[in-house]
Amino acid sequence: MKHLLLGSAALISLAGAAMAGSHSEDIKIGVILGYTGPIESLTPQMADGAELAMKEVTDSGKLMGGAKVTPVRADSTCVDAGAATAAAERLVTADGVKAIMGADCSGVTGAILQNVARPNGIVMISPSATSPALSTAEDDGLFFRTSPSDARQGVVMTEVLMEAGINEVAVTYTNNDYGKGLADSFQAAFEAAGGSVTISAAHEDGKADYSAEVGALASAGGDRLVVAGYVDQGGSGIVRAALDSGAFDTFHFPDGMISDKLVENFGSEIDGSSGQHPSPSDELATRFTDLVGGAFDATSPFVPESYDAAALIMLAMQAAGSSDSADFAGKIMDVANAPGEPIQSGELAKALEILADGGDIDYVGATGVELIGPGEAAGTYRVVGFENGEEVTAGRK
């Protein structure tokens, strides 16, 4: 009798699992990044990072009883708010995505948040929008980011420059929300620390010629030129023109400029320059690189952040037991922060199990995620130096 009871109980639970399996959802998550435009050389790896997390979850078969997660890519263009909004609208209305991993650049991210995410009540987590303005934007609790705000980067930059004994700099920034936000937050922090900014001049991306900008920057002078731009775009154009005309010998590069491309373009010409970008500790980075295993470039900027953004969305869904944004938006802070079992990258299956059993997790992920304030990463920065044509790690902040 006892055996029969146990047996039927086992059978029922099996059937239950099978039923769940057959009813399991196909959850679509939008991956909206600028596949064309100023950061088109960074975005393919970012998308790969996010899709890696989705594949990991799908393969585990543990999300809400075996749900399958399908990424749907859309092009944010990085610069064209209209095109980005239309692409996001299509994701939500035509493809029926449950959440958005993206967007990338701050301007289009703000546009999608206000025009698509809020009206439709869709959660979005950006891996790379760093404008300070997004911290205070109305978001109905739907917007998060796994990269830190540039208000923090401005302070870190000031520290790096002050420690190098530099207190007079010229600043040029790419003329958009990211560049302007970073330049302003840096200038405020730098001047508060006793430094002086001789000029803060915008440059347009993708333009033919930067002699005018470099002429003005050189005239204003300074010990170092801060280039708050994009390496694929005007940023490199400005550096090239400044080096060629002998206007500046050393530079300081914030996150948009740190890329293999920079060393490839300028080699030893930028020796003595400095920079920083949000980057996890070596341990987390190595772990993530091993997880990726050479499938794509895991060390490219914002790739681990993209993995984490996608992972947070799916973990929050599991915690809420629902793929509906209204249900899981409130769970994102819970799964990202303590208390709970720390979850490394590649341990999503374990995290899903703990959540399914009603436990707590503290998602660490690929970047050591810790969400603060209005749902943005606190951020650790890797300080970068340039020696003999190589990019070297000069510390962390």
Binding site: T36, I199, A201, G215, S219, R240, D244, G246
Partner: protein, 359 residues
């Protein structure tokens, strides 16, 4: 001494870069203006034609070392020494000139084939229909998108560096050491080549248009199509030669621009704006106008937004030294400057400075 410093600073940040940029714009605008004058439409695909020509040249540049190695291996006695001698002034063999110059003729040839092909398949059809110029403009936009995609498909959307040889004729640091001045003057090889090549190309073009029979028939066709046809000028020949010249101009302009800055398809697309501004300011259809327009646009972009602090700092007595930047307009407005010039020219001289065609 201070006057010299001021002059050098001015030359380094205004005169030299604006002259090189102006020469690049002038070559681009010449192509646009020729098509407008002879084929009677504004060719929006010109920026991407430049990108295509530069792309072919880059690919050939990259393959030159391979050809060189192959010659060395297979023909060590006769052909290799000749190739060695031909290559010696170029970067690939350690010389000062960029190897891309050697690859340029191939780039021009392939681009000419592409343009002739486009003309046969696309523009020729609309010419036969006697389509209005505005239709051809839209058609050229379609061609622009096709070329845009083609270039990105072949070489990718990224930056490509293909400049080799000596970077500088005089670098800022060498100049300072040489003269003992506080200001440096950099003169890049690419800037020197740009200016010299532009002069040669422009001279050759004017000689061709004014002195040769074919050039004269092209001008006749441009002035009055019907009259030209009546006097026995073969229109297909004029059109074909125009496309070949445009291919040469576009490829030269694209390669010079790429050598001076860098090659990136997106930037070439963006070049369309200043190129059209140059052509219109100078007078669409007028070759002299295109050259003048190119320099007007380049110099206005650089001078109006230049911060004169440094130059004035050298010239003024210490007490009067400016504390501000002495900048007429912030660099944000440099494109506004070209547009203002464009608007003024269109208001007061709608045909451009050198009275081109109106429509």
């Amino acid at each position: 001494m201070d006057v010299l410093n001021a002059l050098v600073a001015f030359a380094n940040f205004v005169l030299v870069p604006a002259t090189a940029y102006g020469a690049q714009l002038a070559l681009g605008a010449l192509g646009v203006t020729l098509i407008y004058g002879i084929l009677r439409f504004s060719n929006f695909a010109h920026g991407d034609t430049m990108a295509f020509g530069a792309m072919v040249t880059i690919l050939v540049t990259w393959s030159i070392p391979l050809v060189f190695a192959w010659l060395q291996f297979n023909f060590p006695t006769l052909l290799f020494p000749i190739a060695d001698w031909v290559l010696s002034p170029f970067g690939v063999a350690g010389g000062p000139l960029p190897t891309a110059l050697l690859a340029l003729p191939v780039g021009i040839l392939v681009t000419a084939l592409l343009l002739l092909g486009t003309d046969r398949v696309i523009y020729g059809f609309y010419r036969q229909q006697r389509a209005k110029p505005v239709v051809l403009v839209i058609v050229s936009m379609g061609v622009m998108f096709m070329m845009n995609g083609l270039v990105r498909f072949v070489i990718g959307p990224d930056d490509q560096r293909f400049a080799d040889g000596a970077r500088f004729i005089v670098s800022a640091r060498e100049f300072k050491a040489m003269t003992g001045l506080r200001e440096g003057l950099a003169f890049k090889t690419s800037q020197g080549i740009t200016i010299v090549t532009a002069v040669i190309v422009v001279a050759a073009l004017f000689w061709f248009l004014n002195r040769t029979r074919t050039g004269k028939s092209m001008r006749a066709y441009s002035d009055n199509e019907d009259l030209a046809l009546l006097s026995g000028i073969n229109p297909e020949r004029v059109v074909a030669i125009t496309w070949i010249i445009v291919a040469a101009l576009a490829t030269v302009a694209g390669v010079l621009y790429g050598l001076d800055k860098s090659f990136k398809p997106f930037t070439y697309f963006q070049l369309l704006l200043p190129i059209f501004a140059s052509a219109i300011v100078g007078g669409l259809g007028s070759p002299v106008g295109a050259i003048v327009g190119g320099f007007v646009i380049a110099f206005s972009e650089v001078t109006v937004t230049y911060a004169w602090k440094k130059v004035l700092g050298y010239l003024m007595p210490e007490a009067l030294e400016p504390s501000g930047l002495v900048q007429l307009l912030s660099t944000d407005y440099k494109f506004a400057v070209s547009f203002v010039i464009l608007v003024i020219v269109l208001l007061f001289r709608p045909t451009g400075i050198f009275a081109g065609k109106t429509g």
